[in-house]
Amino acid sequence: MIVAGLHDDPPGPGTVLWADIDHEHDMMSTRMLGFWLYMLSDSLIFAALFAAYAVLSYPTSFMGGPTPRDVASPLYGYAETVVLFTSVFAYGMVMVKLRHDLPRAAIGWLLVSFLIGAFFIGMETHELRDVALAGGPPQRSGFLSIFWCVVVAHGVHLLFGLLWMLVMVAQIARDGFTQLVTYRLANLKVYWLYQGLIWTFVYTFVYLRGSI
């Protein structure tokens, strides 16, 4: 394959501008890049939610109801952070086991990541139930609407990730590390790590900023 770079000779009569034959595509790389682009577009959804959160966190949007300080505890939020990041680390170990072609160990780490992720959902549900019972359901004020929206949007992403993990456990058990299973595991890695990345912003700008 001829690769033209910046420092090549200037084109002349003999220059080949493109290849006559199509070379073989790397199916896994193509699909992983496609999924990466999808995740970048998903980040714009969160950008819209964070923009709305910034707009709706002025005192006029509290409508006399709970404020950010009342609904988001930094310490509880940090406990959630530790739990979620641990699940992300466990998923990292799935990739390490994949790299070393150890399907049973990969299934084990997938289940660990799943259980810790499910525990995070439990913590979040517990937290939101308390907020609702303490007079902070989403319909109470503009601020509470966007607070619930941001936290639940992230939680729903996690639920789909958990579902995807169970599907991958079944696929590894059935097929082993085939090409299809491998690129799906790599995409789920991007998906799961990305949820940890989004949580960084949820924690900083919802939980911590609310208590400043």
Binding site: L44, P59, P74, R99, T200
Partner: protein, 113 residues
């Protein structure tokens, strides 16, 4: 780029995974957010400075995640991922930043408070 498809787990993107890097990323990101937590709990500085500091710490956490967990760099395997992210970041900053700025000015000028 040609890849030996008979062993999918030897794909270049899978080969980037390393337990050491994942663990480093885990510890560094938790430590950075832990510093944010401590600063906020202690009310260590004025509100504006505190917000600026935890924003910088969130940015550093993001960089640590991108390097240690997502393995982004300019190698042949990863450069398109890195480039598309770099093109995406201005969109994120503009959509959040301009909206916040617009409403901050609006709030200051016209809203009752």
């Amino acid at each position: 780029m040609s890849v030996d498809n008979t062993k999918p787990w030897e794909h270049p993107e899978v080969s980037l995974s390393s337990a050491g890097k994942y663990f480093t990323g885990y510890v560094v990101t938790l430590a950075l957010l832990g510093v944010s937590l401590l600063l906020v709990r202690e009310h260590a500085m004025t509100a504006f400075n505190l917000l600026a500091t935890i924003s910088v710490l969130a940015f550093l956490t993001t960089i640590a995640k991108l390097v240690f967990l997502f393995h982004l760099d300019f190698s042949e395997t990863q450069r398109w991922n890195t480039l598309t992210l770099m093109l995406n970041v201005p969109l994120l900053i503009l959509s959040v930043g301009l909206t916040s700025w617009m409403f901050q000015v609006l709030f200051r000028r016209v809203m009752m408070h």
